[in-house]
């Protein structure tokens, strides 16, 4: 029912299904199963970068370009959840106001809900929902990212890393992490002092060797372009959209797109399997048994690694010799 409504273009059904996924509602997985055959058509574009580099404004400007080119657009914008209260202030729509009146654009704000890595646990499935809904281009804007929030590269086909002038010297550009996942670099706020310096630092980094994306199995045949934009004035955004198309064409040539898809799905399967196994294991063991082991670890009668192994085995139904190891055994 919900799925039928969604496929017929009902925005409320899209919104509701994303909420069910976010809340971990068991019905969501049944619906996603039905939707899965309808997915796989959209071009998924990740947008990441430090807070304040202008990601939301850039997504807004890109969405307008895509709409002019006749594409429909989905946007998922992730902001952090408070680790203390579980609440979140989601403010990315403020920079996307011009898009609200356009029915060809669907924007969803999403709180990270405890997930680190720049995305929420529900992001990948929410992208699928928008994909099945028929959006041609889906932009996923990450939490303002530092250096290690690289999950987006597993969700997106094309990842844009947004920089702004004056954020760091060239050594920052040599570090591992977020710079390695870029398929396209953008130096936004390019009217500010130091924009060329930032471009040069990125170019120098690339000159030393194109970032190796191990999953593609081959380095060097895609050199990430570096583009300057002023997102709030919508300057430099058309050429950026052209580069996104060029990257998609590159992925479609050869085995790149299929390889990324396999990598993406393998990673997701691993995550889901871990979640299932953990839930099953905890269920079988029961909270009393866990509490008992926690007590032993806290008392230094058992170390955490041995305890985890012991519990995994006993949950698996393999008989464990002795009910619990003596402190002397556990120390080995």
């Amino acid at each position: 029912m919900l799925v039928q409504r969604l496929l017929q273009g009902d925005r409320r059904a899209v919104a509701r299904l994303i909420s069910l996924v976010e809340d971990g509602d068991s019905r969501a997985y049944r619906y996603l199963t039905e939707l899965y055959p309808h997915t796989g058509r959209a071009h998924i574009i990740g947008v990441t970068g430090a807070p304040g580099t202008g990601k939301s404004s850039l997504v807004s400007a890109l969405a307008k370009v895509e709409r002019r080119r006749g594409r429909t657009v989905g946007i998922i914008s992730v902001d952090p959840t408070s680790p203390f209260t579980g609440g979140a202030l989601l403010g990315d729509r403020i920079r996307m106001q011009d898009l609200t009146a356009d029915r060809g654009v669907f924007i969803r704000s999403m709180a990270s809900r405890g997930r680190v890595g720049g995305l929420a646990a529900a992001t990948t499935d929410a992208v699928r929902v928008l994909d099945a809904f028929g959006k041609d281009k889906i932009f996923v804007e990450t939490v303002g990212a530092g250096q290690a929030e690289v999950d987006i590269a597993k969700t997106a086909h094309t990842t844009i890393v947004v920089e702004a002038p004056g954020l760091g010297d060239e050594i920052q550009a040599f570090k591992a992490g977020v710079l390695e996942i870029a398929d396209v670099f953008v130096v936004n706020k390019a009217d500010r002092d130091g924009a060329d310096k930032t471009v040069n630092a990125l170019r120098a980094m690339l000159d030393l060797g194109t970032p190796i994306r191990a999953r593609d199995g081959q380095a060097g045949d895609w050199r990430p372009p570096i583009l300057k934009t002023i997102a709030i004035e919508e300057k430099g955004v058309e050429p950026l959209a052209d580069e996104l198309e060029r990257h998609l064409a590159y992925l479609k040539s050869g085995d790149h797109l299929a390889a990324r898809e396999r990598e993406r799905v393998a990673d997701e399967l691993e995550t889901l399997l871990a979640r299932e196994l953990l839930a099953d294991c905890l269920h079988r063991l029961g909270s009393d048994r866990i509490a008992q082991i926690v007590e032993q670890i806290a008392n230094r009668a058992l170390d955490p690694h041995s305890a985890a192994q012991l519990l995994a085995r006993s949950a698996d139904g393999i008989p464990v010799e002795g009910s619990a190891p003596t402190p002397a055994e556990a120390r080995h």
């Binding site: 925005r11 409320r12 899209v14 919104a15 509701r16 994303i18 909420s19 976010e22 809340d23 971990g24 509602d25 068991s26 959840t81 408070s82 209260t85 579980g86 609440g87 979140a88 202030l89 989601l90 403010g91 729509r93 403020i94 106001q97 609200t100 009146a101 669907f106 924007i107 969803r108 704000s109 709180a111 809900r113």
Partner: protein, 138 residues
């Protein structure tokens, strides 16, 4: 399964540019564990309702100080109805004369919070109302 999160739109319709009160409420709701979608200033009824639809909001809080509420609020209530989302909880704040409150209630506004309201009262109101609606719905 954890309890569903309460998602609230806080919006400033109309042309006045004073959003301090709206921001204080947004912050208080965030600190109470809710997900607050802040849409910014000068929002048209269409923009607010479209945001509420896309965000699957449980509630919409509108702040207005320019005395345009009797013009703008009915339009928002109408648009919600047209979208089939008049189940979304509506509440208002800002400068709203007591005389207008009955008319707003008739439009479906469940509460009007004037200056000096304790944010804890707004939090309590939202938790109770949204919970009741979530149980009715589905």
């Amino acid at each position: 399964m954890p309890e569903p999160k309460i998602r609230v739109i806080i919006a400033k319709p109309g042309l006045d540019g004073h959003d301090r009160g709206a921001k204080i409420v947004a912050r208080a709701l965030r600190d109470a564990g809710m997900e607050v979608i802040y849409t910014g200033l000068r929002q048209s009824p269409d923009m607010i309702v479209e945001a509420a639809v896309q965000e699957d909001a449980d509630a919409i809080g509108l702040s207005i100080l320019s005395n345009a509420h009797m013009t703008i609020f009915p339009k928002i209530a109408e648009r919600l109805k047209a979208e089939g989302r008049d189940d979304i909880l509506l509440f208002a704040g800002g400068i709203i004369p007591d005389d207008d409150v009955p008319a707003l209630k008739a439009l479906g506004f469940r509460a009007v919070f004037g200056p000096g309201t304790n944010t804890q009262d707004i939090i309590k109101f939202l938790r109770e109302e949204v919970k009741a609606r979530q149980q009715v719905g589905e």
